[in-house]
Amino acid sequence: MMRTILFAWLIALPAMVSASDFVTLFMERCAEGSRPLNNVNIGKDMLHQMAENATDETLKEAFGKLNSIRIISSDSKRDSRHYFRKADELVREAYADYREVVSVNEQDTRISVWLKEVSDEEQHLILLSLDEEGKFTVITVTGVIDFNSIARLSGSLKDKPELMEQTN
C-alpha cells in the first residue's frame, strides 16, 4: 500500500509541478533571455481590495468577481511578432479545452480570445493581442468574467484618470 502511494506520488509530482496556467507555461516554454518580457500578476485579494476601493460601479463589478489577472507584455516590435506567434501556437497545442470566442485579424492588429468555462462560477480566459503599435500582450483572467461589465469599460477609463488613484 505504501509503495503504491509512493509510486503514485512520484508519478503525480512532476505533473503537479508542471501543471500550470497559460502565463506560467508560456514563460517556461517561450520566454527567451534575449527577448525581455514584462510579467504582472494580480491575485484575488488585491482584486477584491481594488473592487472595494473603486468608485466606478462597472469597474467594481468587473474586479469583484475575478480571481486573478496575469499579464505578459513585450514592448519590442520585433519580439512582439515572435512572441505572438509562439503564444498562438502554444494555446492551440496545449489548451485544446479552450474555445476561440473572438478573433480579429486586421492589417496591424491581431486579437485572439480563448475561453474555458470550468463552471458557472469559474471561467478562464486567455487574450492574445498584437496591437497597431507592435506591442504584444497576453492577458489571462480567471473567476466569474462579466463580459457585459467589461465591454462597458472600454474608453471609459481614459476619461476617468482618478480611478487609477483609488487605491492610493
Partner: protein
C-alpha cells in the same frame, strides 16, 4: 551461626555491603528448617533466590527435545524468492530516482526562466495594470462586435435575394425526391447554370451566420 551474627549479616545485606560468600552463607542459613521466629519472615527471600538460581527441568523435557529435533530433521521446502523480485527492487529504485530527477528538473526550470517580473507594491500600479488588462479585453470585445456589425452591414448592402436562393435549393430537393436517378445530371445542370450565384451564396451564408454566432458567444 548464631542469631546475632545472622542479624548483623542481614543488616550488612540491606546496606548492600555483603560479599558473595556472606550472601551464600545467608542463603544456606535460611534454607534450614528450624529458623528462629524473628528471622522466619526473611526465609522466602533467600529460598526464592536459591530456587530461581537453580531452575529445574520439567519431567517431559527430554521427550519434547527429541520431538523438536525430529521435526528439525525433516527437510523443509526451500524458500524461493520470485525471479522478478530483484528486478522489482531495481525498477523501484530507478523510478524513485527518475521521479526525483524529473521533479527537480521542473522545479529548476521554473526557477531559471529568464522572465522579468514586476511585483507591484504600490496599489496604484496594480490598479493601473488591472484596468489596462480589462480595457484591453473590453476593446477586443468591442472590436469583435464592430466586425460582426460591419459584416452584417456589408451583407445587407449586397441586397442578396435569399428567397430566390432558398427556392432554388428547395426545388433541387424536390427534384431529387421525385427523380432520384436523374439526381446527378440535374444537379450538375443547376450547379453549372448558377455556379457563380451558388458559390457566392455559400460564402455569403457562411459570412452571414458566423458573426451571429460570435455575437452570441460574447
Amino acid at each position: 551461626m548464631n542469631e546475632d551474627s545472622i542479624t548483623a549479616l542481614l543488616d550488612k545485606y540491606w546496606r548492600c555491603e555483603t560479599t558473595l560468600s556472606e550472601e551464600q552463607e545467608l542463603r544456606r542459613y535460611f534454607s534450614e528448617e528450624d529458623l528462629p521466629e524473628t528471622l522466619e519472615h526473611y526465609a522466602p527471600l533467600f529460598t526464592y533466590l536459591k530456587e530461581e538460581q537453580s531452575p529445574k527441568l520439567s519431567s517431559d523435557f527430554d521427550q519434547r527435545l527429541t520431538q523438536a529435533l525430529q521435526r528439525a530433521d525433516v527437510p523443509s521446502a526451500p524458500h524461493r524468492s520470485p525471479l522478478w523480485a530483484p528486478l522489482m527492487r531495481v525498477a523501484a529504485s530507478i523510478l524513485l530516482i527518475a521521479g526525483m530527477g524529473v521533479s527537480l528538473f521542473f522545479i529548476a526550470r521554473q526557477n531559471n526562466q529568464p522572465h522579468y517580473s514586476e511585483k507591484g507594491n504600490e496599489a496604484s500600479q496594480v490598479m493601473e495594470q488591472a484596468t489596462y488588462a480589462l480595457e484591453k479585453l473590453s476593446k477586443a470585445l468591442l472590436m469583435s462586435q464592430e466586425a460582426s456589425h460591419e459584416t452584417l452591414r456589408q451583407i445587407n448592402a449586397m441586397e442578396i435575394d435569399w428567397e430566390l436562393i432558398d427556392s432554388l435549393n428547395s426545388e433541387e430537393v424536390r427534384q431529387q425526391e421525385s427523380n432520384p436517378a436523374e439526381d446527378d445530371t440535374k444537379a450538375d445542370t443547376v450547379e453549372q447554370s448558377n455556379s457563380t450565384d451558388s458559390k457566392d451564396s455559400a460564402v455569403m451564408r457562411t459570412g452571414y451566420h458566423e458573426p451571429i454566432k460570435e455575437e452570441k458567444k460574447i
